[in-house]
């Protein structure tokens, strides 16, 4: 079993776990924060539910970025198709570190985007036509998750297995 799996696979999987887990945690907290604020708006003005939903969904992308990085690891290590490749310890560490930019950036960005979205709920509660501005403010925070994801994805693409 041991020679079949190689030494580094566990590390690669730990990286995938961190990316999916932390990214998901960031989004879960962020969407939660935005959702709580949004429920208040939707109670008073049910007709704004569509707008509330869009604003609530914004901090959800970090979870997706984390999931994608985890998915790439599973794909490139061959775990997904049931034929794991042999991965050395060094390669394992490389994959592990490759996951970190996305994991850390998504955790922090998800939470903070949730806060900005929640504040944006106040804007649309007062005036529905301010929706675009609320979205742009919230999307500013997402930039850093996008950059983290970009570096993680490029690293995974270019690490030679």
């Amino acid at each position: 079993m041991e020679q079949f799996l190689g030494d580094g696979l566990a590390l690669a999987l730990a990286g995938a776990a961190l990316a999916v887990g932390l990214g998901g945690a960031g989004s879960a907290i962020g969407v939660g924060l935005a959702g709580q604020a949004g429920a208040g708006v939707a109670t008073e003005q049910p007709e704004k539910f569509g707008k509330v939903l869009v604003l609530e969904a914004l901090p959800g992308t970090q979870g997706i970025y984390g999931f994608l990085v985890g998915f790439l690891i599973l794909l490139f290590t061959g775990v997904l198709v049931g034929e794991p490749k042999e991965i050395s310890l060094a390669q394992g560490w490389q994959l592990f570190f490759a996951c970190l930019p996305c994991a850390i950036a998504c955790l922090s960005s998800g939470i903070n985007q949730g806060k900005v979205s929640a504040a944006g709920m106040n804007m649309i509660a007062k005036d529905g036509s301010q929706m675009g501005k609320a979205i742009v403010l919230s999307a500013m925070v997402e930039t850093y998750a996008v950059l983290g994801f970009l570096i993680s994805a490029l690293l995974i693409f270019f690490i030679k297995l």
Binding site: G60, G132, K133, I135, V136, M140, V146, L147, L150, A153
Partner: protein, 663 residues
């Protein structure tokens, strides 16, 4: 194109034509009215007569608004394809005036009041009943619960585990006490204690020791059971009232369309009265002042002359520093992109309208974030159908049309990048693929593969970004030369435009796009640019040292330009995200087929369709936002301040009906 010219005009007319003229202005949707400011400030008083009329209309309007809300509960929501109310303004007026809306709203308010009152009463009775229900076995008449001259009775509840102890304790006090359990539920025992009055202190001590909570029963005659039955009966009466009121409201809901028409009509009348106070009046004449887009002036004069010849229209100069309302006007093709500009807010009246300049970038960036030809086709078809078959409000129409363009561009860019539902070339029918010279199988039209060759896409993204920022800088330069102090404009912005162009030239030379011998030229160009920046940017400082130091410091702005360009790397990241989510959906769909015997293909189709729909939705939203952000932050930042106020023309605003042309 760009910002339409807005003029300030005054329109003098006789008081007898005032109503007609206001009606005309409201119909033509042409100008924004403004109160004339005098030395004593702005005079905006209604005459008592008008004030009363306004209050009346406001009350009627509020009643109708409320009635519509009430009736909407009883009418099934209209489907998307249902025909909305379409009338011309004359028909609206006619229908609204013959409508007996006052009687109808009165009726609705009456029934709604009955309904609410009955509901409240029912809830109160129900709460009472719930409290007394546990005492229903009480065999004592309620009037006897007050006790007699020497004895007293208390009722209450405590935790059922404590019942035995309190039973012992009470019986131990004296022979003149008695305790009885009336009822018991999951948690509590409900008990009755009878005792001689002189023992009250001891008894109270015991009851507080066992956390006994005393209950008051209603001071009525007869058994509690009978009282409960009375409550039950009252609840039933309330239910009947509720049912009756709901039935009435349901039958009244046939007037909903009529009320909606009156709602919008009254809104127009209300606004007309509100605008009226902005007019300056004498005994026989009135002056209407306001802002009007230049092209509307002729139209207004043309229609005015049909009403009367007793009017005078003249243009006046805006006051110094006055905020001129902004109208942006673009041709039919560019118009949908105004939706993007409006999210940021309008430019100031002295600035350029960015809409035509951002259009191409916005739509290309949008396509690059999606990069899936199949998604592009789906989006194009859906939005085109929506435009054809749905009656959409003006603002939404712009947005949907923009998404339709987006679908088309996504199809083209997706084709170039080889994105077809994120499938690989060996998974699709042969006619969609072709073989390259090196023997690799790729999609037809495919030029780049973003999954195996992300660096090319990254360079493309940054290149487009650099070009857009360069364009923004030149736009600022040109606009500043046209409108402001020419020397300052050239010295402030010019060096940066020169420097950035040089950097672009040097990069192209270094990347061997330009001939080899251009590298040296590029190098000297950049150095010359840097020297010019150092020499010009600190020129407002007093002494020569200050000038040079702040000149050198301004070179630091280069970092800002660099980070702006790097921000465009998100185009690659979002494109990758779409492709990889699609890939994940495909792999999971195939896993479904392999894992589940016999019916696996059904689950495969469900996962495939559901997954890709999700991917389209989430990434269309993401692409739109991030493509927009690149315009607002990176592009606008170079040449636009924003913060203009839009022209809010005096018009007939509709919430429920669509206005057809009178013809």
């Amino acid at each position: 194109m760009a910002i339409a010219k807005t003029r300030k005009i005054q329109l003098l007319t006789t008081l007898e034509h005032k109503t007609e003229v206001l009606e005309l202005l409201q119909n033509t949707n042409a100008m924004e009215l403004q109160a004339i400011s005098t030395e004593e400030g702005v005079e905006t008083q209604h005459s008592p007569n008008q004030l009363q009329k306004l209050q009346e209309i406001e009350l009627e309007f509020a009643n109708i608004d409320y009635s519509i809300k009430v009736l909407s509960r009883y009418v099934k929501a209209k489907g998307l394809l249902a025909e909305p109310i379409c009338l011309n303004t004359d028909q609206v007026k006619e229908k609204a005036e013959e409508s007996k809306h006052k009687e109808i709203t009165k009726e609705i308010l009456k029934h709604e009041n009955n309904l609410l009152q009955a509901r409240n009463e029912k809830a109160a009775f129900q709460a009472e009943l719930d409290t007394y229900q546990v005492w229903k076995n009480l065999g004592v008449n309620l009037e006897n619960l007050d006790g007699s001259a020497n004895s007293k009775i208390i009722l209450g509840s405590l935790k059922k585990e404590n019942y035995n102890e309190i039973y012992q304790a009470v019986n131990n006090v004296s022979a003149l006490t008695s305790i009885e359990k009336i009822n018991q539920d999951d948690n509590n025992a409900y008990i009755l204690i009878v005792f001689s009055k002189e023992l009250e202190t001891e008894l109270r001590e015991i009851t507080s020791r066992y956390k006994f909570t005393e209950t008051e029963l209603p001071r009525e005659k007869g058994l509690l059971k009978a009282y409960n039955q009375k409550l039950q009966k009252q609840i039933e009466t309330c239910e009947e009232t509720i049912e009756k009121a709901e039935k009435e409201l349901k039958s009244l809901s046939k007037h909903l369309d009529e009320l909606m028409i009156v709602h919008d009509y009254l809104n127009w009348e209300k606004e007309k009265l509100e605008e009226d106070k902005k007019l300056t009046k004498t005994n026989y004449s009135c002056i209407i002042q306001g802002w009007i887009p230049e092209k509307n002036i002729e139209k207004i004069e043309d229609q005015l002359s049909k009403i009367t010849n007793r009017y005078l229209l003249r243009e006046i100069e805006p006051e110094k520093g006055e905020n001129i309302p902004v109208v942006i006007k673009n041709n039919k093709f560019i118009e949908p992109f105004e939706a993007v500009t409006e999210i940021y807010g309008l430019p100031k009246s002295t600035e350029i309208d960015p809409t035509p300049f951002l259009a191409v970038y916005f739509i290309v960036f949008f396509g690059m974030c999606l990069t899936d030809a199949a998604y592009g086709i789906i989006m194009f078809v859906c939005t085109a159908l929506a435009l054809k078959f749905l009656k959409l409000p003006q603002g939404l129409r712009k947005l949907v049309k923009l998404l339709m363009y987006g679908g088309l561009v996504t199809f083209v860019i997706g084709g170039l990048f080889g994105g077809w539902f994120s499938l690989s070339p060996d998974q699709v029918p042969d006619f969609l693929t072709t073989t390259t010279d090196s023997g690799e199988q790729i999609f037809i039209f495919q030029k780049i593969n973003s999954l195996t060759d992300p660096l090319t896409v990254l360079i493309l993204s940054l290149g487009l970004g650099f070009f857009q920022i360069l364009m923004g800088t030149y736009m600022k330069l040109i606009h500043a030369i046209k409108t402001g102090n020419k020397i300052d404009a050239i010295l402030d912005v010019g060096p940066w435009a020169f420097m950035l162009t040089g950097i672009g030239f040097a990069i192209l030379a270094a990347a061997s796009v330009l001939p080899q011998n251009m590298i040296a030229i590029g190098k000297w160009w950049v150095i010359l640019g840097a020297v010019i920046i150092v020499l010009t940017q600190g020129r407002d400082k007093k002494n020569i040292v200050g000038k040079l130091v702040s000149g050198f410091l301004s070179l630091y702005d280069l970092i800002g330009y660099l980070s702006d360009v790097l921000s465009y790397s998100r185009l690659l990241a979002l494109g990758l995200a779409t492709a990889i989510i699609g890939l994940a959906v495909n792999i999971i769909a195939v896993l479904m087929k392999d894992m589940i015997p016999y019916v696996g293909w059904i689950f495969m189709i469900i996962v495939f369709v559901g997954g890709h729909v999700f991917n389209i939705l989430i990434n269309t939203l993401g692409s739109f936002i991030h493509s927009g952000r690149l315009q607002f932050v990176e592009f606008f930042g170079k040449f636009l301040e924003g913060g203009g106020t839009g022209l809010k023309p005096f018009s007939k605003k509709c919430k429920y009906i669509f206005i057809k042309n009178n013809s």
